[in-house]
């Protein structure tokens, strides 16, 4: 199941330490921006009196990784969805397809790449938590094994009935994510998509793509069959016109058609 992050909107004080730590860790230029950009991989937004973090959700079956024609985006077993800028050719299908609208582009550069949170994949390899979780003074963002985080979230919801919406955002959304969120305000009011299917969107295209080899075989045989029949008909018609095609190689029984 790998590692993940749990964000508790009721605990966030909106100090922005996570965003600054992220900028520093990933050497991103400029100030922390209001919304996510290619240079701001996480940010804290105020909604309904609460502070909500925006960051890549790190889907279990990432839509971005499934649509990328060159496999520049990948889900690692540790949890992070990582991006290989060296492969990316800039088609931006990941941005179009991501159900959480996370990948952003360097529109201002002649040699642009995609920017998005990579869950500090490098730090994780060294056994360290993400920079944002380490920087959080309020323990609003905690880092850990995903199964432990689910247990922790369930415990918090159960221990204070009514203090939380009875749903862990990210448990089922788009097939489940490594980043989980809990809140006392309905998630759509916090600007999080609430119309996401429980099945990973990638399955919808895979249903079509996985049938292609069979389809090609059947369609090729059909097309050749059409050609064979029409060509044969022509041949027969010609032979019939030339006096019943008696001089042929024993195709007589088809002459009737």
């Amino acid at each position: 199941m790998g590692m993940g992050l749990l964000f508790d909107a009721t605990r966030c004080i909106g100090c922005g330490a996570c965003s600054s730590a992220c900028k520093e860790q990933n050497k991103l230029p400029g100030k922390v921006e209001e919304a996510l950009t290619a240079y701001t991989w996480t940010t804290v937004q105020e909604r309904e009196g609460l502070n909500v973090r925006r960051l890549c959700m790190h889907c279990e079956v990432p839509t971005c990784a499934s649509v990328c024609p060159v496999g520049a985006l990948k889900k690692t077993p540790e949890g992070p969805v990582v991006y290989d800028a060296e492969r990316c050719m800039g088609c931006r299908y990941c941005m179009m397809a991501c159900p959480f609208e996370i990948p952003k582009y360097q529109w201002d550069r002649p040699v642009p790449v995609v920017g998005k949170c990579i869950m500090c994949a490098g730090r994780l390899k060294e056994g360290k938590p993400t920079a944002c979780a380490e920087a959080c003074p309020a323990e609003a963002t905690i880092f850990g094994k995903k199964e432990d985080l689910i247990w922790e979230a369930r415990t918090r919801i159960r221990q204070k009935p009514g203090a939380y919406v009875d749903h862990i955002y990210g448990l089922t959304e788009a097939g489940g994510t490594s980043v989980l969120m809990i809140s006392n305000v309905p998630f759509e009011k916090l600007g999080l998509k609430s119309n996401l299917p429980g099945e990973p969107p990638a399955m919808k295209t895979w249903q079509v793509l996985s049938n292609i080899p069979d389809f090609v075989a059947v369609w090729a045989v059909f097309l050749y069959g059409v050609h064979w029949i029409t060509a044969r008909r022509e041949e027969v018609a010609k032979a019939t016109a030339n006096g019943n095609g008696r001089n042929g190689q024993g195709h007589g029984r088809e002459d009737r058609s």
Binding site: T63, M89, M96, E101, W107, P110
Partner: protein, 389 residues
């Protein structure tokens, strides 16, 4: 007629009004390209993080590929269904198809963030990606079209052996072309299967791949008719009404099936309410469906109208227009609400698209003047007798 003109008028190319239009568009296209490569996509387009795909994908890619579908349709009709009477319009259709794909590739070279890596699709594979499949099919099918057209060029230079070899291989070549076309024409629709939560229910459907395939056949035939008409006006050719009329019948069938599938998709999504309340999307749908499906189907169902060159061209124009509106609605209108923004292409984006169309038409004109694209040989360069064309 043609020979008289050829003897009367000088074969030399005489620039006229349309040449001037072409030169202006071409220079503007080059200027935008320079800015795009030095300053980035943000400097020339209205694209944004909220709206990453715009006119260059919606029109140049989706329409460019779709409108080139006449080539695989007609080669199948002639070489697989063996309806050889359509032979005279195959060459110009293959040429149009090839130029259509060349148009798409040039557009991609502008739209991709790092176009010099376009070959990455060859070495880095992701078979789960529809875009990967489209990339391969477009690459291979463009090659197939080039090979299908190459005998025309070989003949010109007097190389008869390669022309003969290709003639021998035409059946497998055409089958390969139809296979590749079926795959990527439908896959352009599959590109949008993955955004059920973003694409408006008036356009989202699990049947998008089939819809895109059928509509490409309809619009591809429409383009064959339009291209014949434009060639007639520009090069004083006659309109092959005996061939175009039955083709228009095929177009009506494709449009009809497409229309029914569209209605079925909307019914499945319970989205008729978004039409009746005349929302932005509802109005766009009504224009698309009335002008692009209902009207051409109604008009072209009458044999009398199909057999009249003016009505026929009008019907084909509506089919192509409706097709373009449908593709733009899927890629732009239908995606706006979920993105939370409005997208209108910038003047520079439009310049690039128009410039590419102009370049395509200029290359077509050059090719038919040079090679035996039409059955009666290269057309005379004379443009002046018509004046208005």
């Amino acid at each position: 007629m043609n020979t008289t003109l050829a003897t009367l008028a000088p074969r030399r190319f005489r620039p006229g009004f349309w040449t001037a239009v072409f030169v202006v568009l071409f220079l503007a296209f080059c200027a935008v390209a320079v800015i795009r490569y030095t300053k980035g996509l943000g400097a020339v387009t209205n694209l944004s993080d909220q709206f990453p795909w715009g006119l260059w994908i919606g029109f140049d890619l989706l329409c460019g590929v779709g409108l080139a579908a006449g080539a695989f349709t007609l080669t199948a009709v002639v070489h697989l269904f063996n309806l050889h009477r359509f032979e005279p319009i195959v060459r110009p259709t293959i040429l149009t198809g090839f130029l259509g794909y060349a148009f798409v590739i040039v557009a991609l070279l502008l739209d991709l963030g790092q176009p010099w890596r376009i070959w990455h699709a060859i070495i880095y594979w992701n078979t789960h990606s529809v875009m990967f499949e489209v990339a391969w099919c477009v690459m291979l099918y463009t090659t197939v079209l080039a090979v299908e057209f190459s005998p025309v060029v070989f003949e010109y230079f007097g190389f008869h052996t390669p022309a003969k070899v290709i003639h021998r291989l035409i059946t497998p070549l055409v089958i390969l072309g139809v296979l590749l076309s079926t795959l990527h024409q439908s896959s352009l629709g599959s590109l949008y299967l993955i955004v059920p939560s973003k694409l408006h229910p008036l356009w989202y459907s699990p049947m998008l791949p089939v819809q895109f395939y059928i509509s490409a056949i309809g619009a591809g035939i429409g383009m064959v008719i339009l291209e014949s008409y434009l060639s007639k006006r520009a090069f004083h050719r006659h309109l092959e009404m005996d061939l175009l009329e039955p083709l228009a019948r095929g177009m009506v069938m494709a449009l009809g099936i497409f229309g029914l599938m569209r209605l079925q998709g909307i019914a499945r999504n319970h989205a008729f309410g978004t039409i009746t309340n005349l929302s932005y999307e509802g109005r766009m749908f009504l224009v698309e469906f009335a002008l692009g499906v209902l009207l051409p189907v109604a008009l072209m169902s009458f044999r009398r109208l199909r057999s009249n060159p003016d009505w026929l061209v009008g019907g084909a124009f509506l089919a192509v227009l409706g097709f373009v509106m449908n593709r733009l609605n899927v890629s732009i209108t239908g995606m706006e609400a979920a993105s939370g923004t409005r997208y209108l292409p910038s003047a520079m984006e439009i310049t690039v698209s128009l410039g590419l169309v102009a370049i395509g038409m200029a290359v077509f004109a050059f090719a038919v003047r040079t090679f035996s694209v039409f059955p009666d040989g290269p057309v005379a360069g004379a443009k002046e007798p018509s004046g208005r064309s």
